[in-house]
Symmetry: C2
Amino acid sequence: MSETNTKSRRLKHKEDLKRKILEVAKELFLKHGYESISIRKIADKIGISPTTIYLYYQDKSDVIYALHQEGFKMLSSHFAVLRNVEEPFERLKAMGRSYIEFAIENRDFYELMFIMREPIEFVNKNYACEWEEGGAAFEALLVTVADCKAKGYFKQADLHAMSLYVWATIHGICSLKLQGHLDHVVNAHFPEKEQQLSLEKAFDTLIFILKSIQ
Amino acid sequence: MSETNTKSRRLKHKEDLKRKILEVAKELFLKHGYESISIRKIADKIGISPTTIYLYYQDKSDVIYALHQEGFKMLSSHFAVLRNVEEPFERLKAMGRSYIEFAIENRDFYELMFIMREPIEFVNKNYACEWEEGGAAFEALLVTVADCKAKGYFKQADLHAMSLYVWATIHGICSLKLQGHLDHVVNAHFPEKEQQLSLEKAFDTLIFILKSIQ
DNA sequence: TTTAAAATATTAACACTGTTAATTATATTT
DNA sequence: AAATATAATTAACAGTGTTAATATTTTAAA
């Protein structure tokens, strides 16, 4: 009996420390950005030796991947309530706005999840077949577009092509904005009064267009 | 007379070495990707000391910026011939395809130009007002969309919002593809026969939609 | 032509990075 | 209490960008 107790106690300690490492990594990440996550800094903040981290994660990209997963959990809980929006086109619009919202409010996470190559390559290598967190997000879009089609929207368009197209458009808007590629272009080429809401206007254009092709 | 000769000779040498540094940086970049550009490797390959590079570029991000500029020159020459396409909507389609073509064929450059934050932040800091290379590219899109509007396309849409929307969509497609965020989603959710050409199908959807709203 | 000055390049060093092998300390089991 | 398994550490390797101080080379003036 005491044997299993100590065993589970040790197991708990292992899990605690593993979580603590992730927690500190997240803290560094949110405070000073991706670049400032370092094995040594994490170790210092916890008060352990850098090499101890390698007993809990196989390498740095494994720690990054754990953060990546956290991000997808955050996104899915951000999306959860939208399942209650019955009218599919309304739901699609809301999903688009929520996605942009998430990207703006969690820019570091968004970069990790949808822009950087490292973490997704880690997924492709280690979880080649199933990757639930990522799959669920796209599945939600797919279902909503299918619902739209069932109600008569996007009649002539292919379900999968359409879904990918919607994702690509909204990701494009977020990506250009977050990575700083919009400011210069907007400042140089847009009339002053249109500069502020360029992001929203691009999104509105998408919605306007989606409505038009009904 | 000999004074100006030696002066210009020295100037030429300075420019030669500056170009040589960029050339070697580009070589490393194209052969082994962004990550493997290092001041020390560049110096080794030329046969100079690492610190010499700091006499020609203010720091590493300055070297990267020079590569960034090269990329925009490449893109503009890739686009140049399209000015001869008279029908504006045909031109817009061709621009889209050419853009995707450029992204696929020069993925490292595309990442540098439209995905990474560092180089564009260097532009924003050092060339806050004018940045010709980048401006010209968006200007070409803006003009083409304006031409389309003049011919009766996109009547109800705003010129700037529409242009930004088109760029964002195509960038979104390229970005998701190049950064490896498409493979997993497509493999998991697309019917097998549609997996191969998912990129083209998303683009075709855009074109289909743009036609529909005429 | 020799000397002073300016331009160019180098060495040494700092403060970091991820990661591995060998070693020590701690806890568990016999 | 001794042997074993687990956990954590130190030391080291091979890199990174960057700066200050020093040495070398080239140019200009006496």
